[in-house]
Assembly symmetry: C2
């Protein structure tokens, strides 16, 4: 029992290993983007783009592993995180058996820290419709995360996880339109959101360009995803 886990992984490929991978989305420039990191794949002896994530510690809860690896690799913490699906095809990793528990996360662009901002080497926020070749089955994981996001947008307040503390209804509508990929009617959208009963007018306004200023709203259940209807 003197071997480290890393050594064990190398010497005992016939054992099962468990990892977590995190699909973290943001909205930027009218695009749904996902965070990728450049990593060296020992398995394939090349560097490639991959999701943040890593191996589960011996006494670590799954979600904590997701939080820890995300924070460690990208500096991001305190985001909405939800278990997505567990991927375990025996051949998904070429050198050993790795079961990965995928999580998906959302963050407002404003909260992306310097450590994973645009321009940082080894880090990229990529449009989900223009992904590079990805490590293992990470493209499949992202695809499934995206489907979950789209469907949860319909029956929950998950979209608010993309918003900063204060936001305008126009900004919120843009987020919905970006994720759904279709334009929405402004009046119907505002009516529906206000009917949720989970936004309040802050009384403040945002002046932003040569047009009428917009009211700023606040989500009244921050950090919580509510089910609607």
């Amino acid at each position: 029992m003197t071997k480290t886990l890393t050594e064990l992984r190398a010497t005992a490929p016939w054992l099962l290993h468990v990892s977590t991978d995190i699909v973290i989305f943001t909205i930027r420039e009218g695009e749904l983007r996902v965070l990728l990191r450049r990593r060296y794949s020992e398995a394939m002896s090349v560097t490639c783009w991959a999701l943040p994530g890593g191996y589960l510690g011996p006494v670590e809860p799954l979600e904590q592993c997701a939080q820890r690896t995300l924070a460690h690799q990208t500096g991001i913490d305190d985001v909405y995180l939800e278990q997505l699906y567990t991927f375990g095809r025996p051949d998904r990793h070429p050198k050993s058996r790795v079961i990965t528990v995928a999580y998906f996360a959302l963050i407002p662009w404003e909260r992306v820290c310097a450590e994973s901002a645009e321009g940082v080497p080894h880090i990229a926020w990529r449009h989900v419709d223009a992904l590079p070749d990805l490590y293992l089955d990470h493209a499949e994981i992202i695809d499934q995360a995206r489907q979950r996001l789209v469907s949860k947008l319909q029956y929950s307040t998950i979209g608010f996880e993309f918003m900063p503390e204060q936001f305008t209804l126009g900004e919120l509508q843009c987020v919905y339109e970006t994720i759904l990929g279709e334009p929405l009617d402004k009046r119907n959208f505002r009516k529906k959101v206000l009917a949720f009963g989970c936004v309040e007018d802050t009384g403040e306004q945002r002046r932003n360009g040569s047009h009428r200023p917009a009211r700023l709203y606040r989500y009244t259940a921050p950090g919580e995803v509510l089910y609607i209807k």
Copy 2:
């Protein structure tokens, strides 16, 4: 590499192990019931009730593990099976670290085979509202499976997985009422189901008691769960 996996599990408690557990539901006597098996818990040196399930083989896909252990322990195969959630609290198993990928499954009572019928020792179909003490966190797993079942009933044709090849609309309505725990209006229910467009009249009837015979219908997408609305 001469040790068996079973020996390894005993001698290397600091390694991670992966298992699957299956929550299989049926409808019987107006009750939603779940299949339990009596098992000896080495961890706790007692026998107790548990979900069917077992350890993942070294080169076995996750879903196949669920199918294999279910078939081996209960004789049941060829059922609707869907990944539910992965449970991995570090202390969920007292003697080693076991991550379990839970699946949920549905079967029409008519298809339950002799090997897991009522009266077979070590096997029980228990009402979900009257469960005995269960192994580890299996009560929590069942609870989550039940929530998933209820919500999927609203937006998919998952309820048909409880039906035999031919069924009456009255029987289908009973299934819905049992799962939802509330009575439904007969006319509205029939209207809605026929609007799904995935049942067809077989032309046959079922005479069953001293009243008018009922038409028999067939689900036109057997083995498939469709999303509705």
